[in-house]
């Protein structure tokens, strides 16, 4: 999977690209409008991460060129602006998703994966992790080919874990992913624990393993290592 990251802040660019490379994406970088435009005319990308405030141009213009030239890439806007108006403009011009800074890498990954699923896999949108398989079209989860029934939040949580497998996820990051809002949840992490226990119980009931590791009581990691 090829990703183009357009972002004028070099440090941000490197951090994001290092992470994406580690996650087995092929990553190309553009730190300004002109470079991004040039790269888009030469190469094809699956995903474009686009900062809309660039020093030498408006990211929205870039988005328009992408859509005009029918480039079939998924576009995620990375913006420092947290206003609905910008979000709507972005999505109107054909962006697939909109993320406000600061964002989490695990969240970014999960959004990228969601777009890839929508764009490419079509009917065969199944994720596997050992004995667990998730079909995202029908939102069904099977353990050793036996279906388990999860609530919406439990499903979202398991999917988030599997997409970010082997990564430490803090309670805050999980809460933000599930409720994607600025709601101050800091003293309400118990429900994460409740959801987690439900997932564990349901997987176990069909003979699955418990892959959710608790880390120092502050975070979790989905791993078989």
């Amino acid at each position: 999977m090829k990703i183009l990251v357009v972002e004028d802040e070099i440090e941000l660019l490197t951090t994001v690209s290092n992470y994406l490379t580690k996650e087995k994406y092929i990553c190309e970088l553009a730190e300004n409008f002109q470079k991004a435009k040039k790269k888009l005319s030469i190469n094809e990308y699956d995903i474009i991460l686009l900062d809309i405030t660039l020093p030498d141009g408006d990211g929205i213009d870039l988005l328009q060129t992408i859509r005009k030239n029918n480039i079939r890439a998924g576009v995620i806007i990375l913006s420092a602006k947290n206003s609905l108006d910008d979000k709507i403009t972005g999505l109107d011009f054909g962006a697939d998703d909109y993320m406000t800074k600061p964002f989490q890498l695990s969240e970014l990954n999960s959004r990228i994966k969601a777009i890839l699923r929508r764009h490419k896999f079509g009917g065969d949108s199944t994720l596997h992790f050992n004995e667990i398989s998730i079909t995202t079209d029908s939102k069904t989860v099977k353990i050793n080919n036996k279906e388990i029934v999860l609530t919406k939040k439990e499903y979202d949580m398991l999917l988030y874990f599997i997409i970010n497998k082997n990564r430490v996820l803090t309670k805050e990051a999980i809460a933000e992913h599930l409720w994607n809002d600025n709601i101050d949840l800091s003293d309400n992490f118990d429900f994460i624990y409740t959801h987690l226990n439900n997932i564990r119980r349901k997987i176990k009931s069909k003979g699955g393993n418990d892959y959710i590791k608790t880390i120092y009581g502050m975070g979790y990691k989905f791993t078989d290592q």
């Binding site: 951090t15 420092a80 609905l84 108006d85 600061p102 890498l105 990051a173 409720w179 003293d187």
Partner: protein, 413 residues
């Protein structure tokens, strides 16, 4: 008070006082002149009488104006004037007279002469003076009244029109203010100054707005870098203490970012930058929010009850309604107790959210102030944002503490 009314008041006062002074002075001057005339007349008469006595040895008597009689030496009266009143038979009323008394010695015989002259009644005098003056006052005032009325429609019209332009001036409207030219120098000077001032204000306002927004946005980038790096560090094998330190740093960064976002939000609401407004039925939004917060409320085993008596319709930006309800409902959960209650009541022009909670955790006075907070985990901006939204939308927000904590938003209309 209107400018012209003020001027009229001044005129009325000045004119009134002036007329009173003129009438008082006039009264005395006139009275004196008349008195002098009368005295002169009396002297002439006395002279004639003395002549009559000396030549004809005759003491003339005409009641009531002339009275002369021979007197002995011990009946001598000194020369004097006296105000008396006599009955006038013809008009059958008391009339004022000036009585002049003198004793003269003619051929070794004393004669007492009393001369009386009818005086003008004071009332008549006052009337004679004040009536024309009063007429003058009424006349000048009515002239004043009608001219001001006309001036209001002519000279002051352009001024009033311009004033309306200025009153309707808004910072959000980027058009420059356009004022009517008049043929009055002062008004044109004022127009010029106002135009210049608003232009400068608009520019400054725009710059400030841009600065606040840019500063706020620029802050998000370094915050993002910090947060991403912390997330990557967390992926390494870390000792528990280091891990916890990093998580707590990450949370602090998150708080910083939220604080920044909220301050920006507050500024934007204050600057009325949420201008796209729609008719909104609050009830629907509340239902959605209750649904959204269900996990949170269930977690504390809080029972939320909603009574919609009728639709509460507001003209508002959807973003702001979301924020408003988010803040109020999340607050009512956050500051609630285990197994608590939240009751939401919506009527045609009122939204009331009540929740059980700790005693005395809030005070009326500073509850809506920025950075008033119950614990260090919250930012203390939530209610301030709620207040700001209400203030800019002509809504009233009240906090009532009964057995429960209640927030009531009502339409001011």
């Amino acid at each position: 008070m209107k400018f012209l009314t003020k001027i009229n008041h001044q005129y009325i006062w000045t004119l009134g006082i002036l007329l009173i002074i003129v009438s008082v002075v006039g009264f005395f001057v006139l009275k004196n002149i008349i008195l002098n005339e009368i005295k002169e007349d009396i002297f002439e008469k006395e002279y004639a009488i003395i002549n009559e006595i000396r030549t004809q040895n005759n003491t003339p008597n005409i009641f009531p104006i002339i009275e002369t009689k021979k007197i002995s030496e011990n009946e001598i009266e000194k020369k004097s004037y006296k105000n008396i009143s006599l009955r006038d038979e013809a008009e059958n009323e008391q009339e004022p007279y000036l009585e002049y008394t003198n004793t003269v010695k003619i051929n070794n015989q004393y004669y007492l002469i009393k001369l009386r002259h009818s005086l003008l009644e004071s009332n008549d005098l006052i009337m004679a003076i004040s009536l024309p003056l009063l007429l003058l006052l009424v006349l000048s005032l009515s002239v004043l009244f009608f001219t001001t009325k006309r001036m209001n429609k002519t000279i002051w019209k352009d001024f009033e029109d311009n004033l309306k332009f200025i009153e309707n001036f808004s910072f959000d409207n980027l058009d420059n203010i356009k004022l009517k030219q008049t043929d009055i120098e002062e008004f044109n000077r004022l127009n010029k100054t106002v135009s210049k001032l608003t232009e400068k204000l608009q520019n400054d306002y725009k710059l400030l707005k841009e600065f606040t927004e840019n500063a706020s946005h620029e802050l998000q980038t370094p915050i993002t870098i910090i947060s991403l790096n912390l997330e990557e560090i967390l992926q390494q094998d870390l000792a528990e203490t280091v891990f916890k330190q990093i998580v707590s740093t990450q949370n602090a960064v998150k708080r910083l970012s939220n604080l920044n976002k909220n301050l920006l939000l507050l500024t934007k609401i204050k600057n009325r930058q949420y201008s796209t407004e729609k008719q909104i039925v609050v009830n629907k939004f509340v239902e959605e929010k209750i649904e959204e917060f269900q996990t949170l409320s269930k977690n504390k085993n809080i029972n939320i009850s909603l009574i919609s008596e009728s639709d509460f319709v507001l003209k508002m930006n959807t973003d702001l309604v979301e924020i408003l309800l988010n803040n109020l409902i999340s607050n009512s959960i956050k500051h609630n107790i285990e197994n608590g209650e939240i009751s939401i009541n919506i009527t045609e022009n009122k939204l009331q959210i009540c929740n059980t909670g700790k005693e005395n955790s809030l005070t009326n006075n500073n509850i809506f102030n920025r950075f008033t907070k119950e614990n260090s985990q919250s930012y203390g901006l939530g209610l301030s944002i709620v207040k700001q939204i209400c203030d800019t939308h002509n809504l009233k927000i009240e906090y009532l503490k009964t057995r429960e904590h209640c927030f009531i938003i009502s339409d001011k209309k």
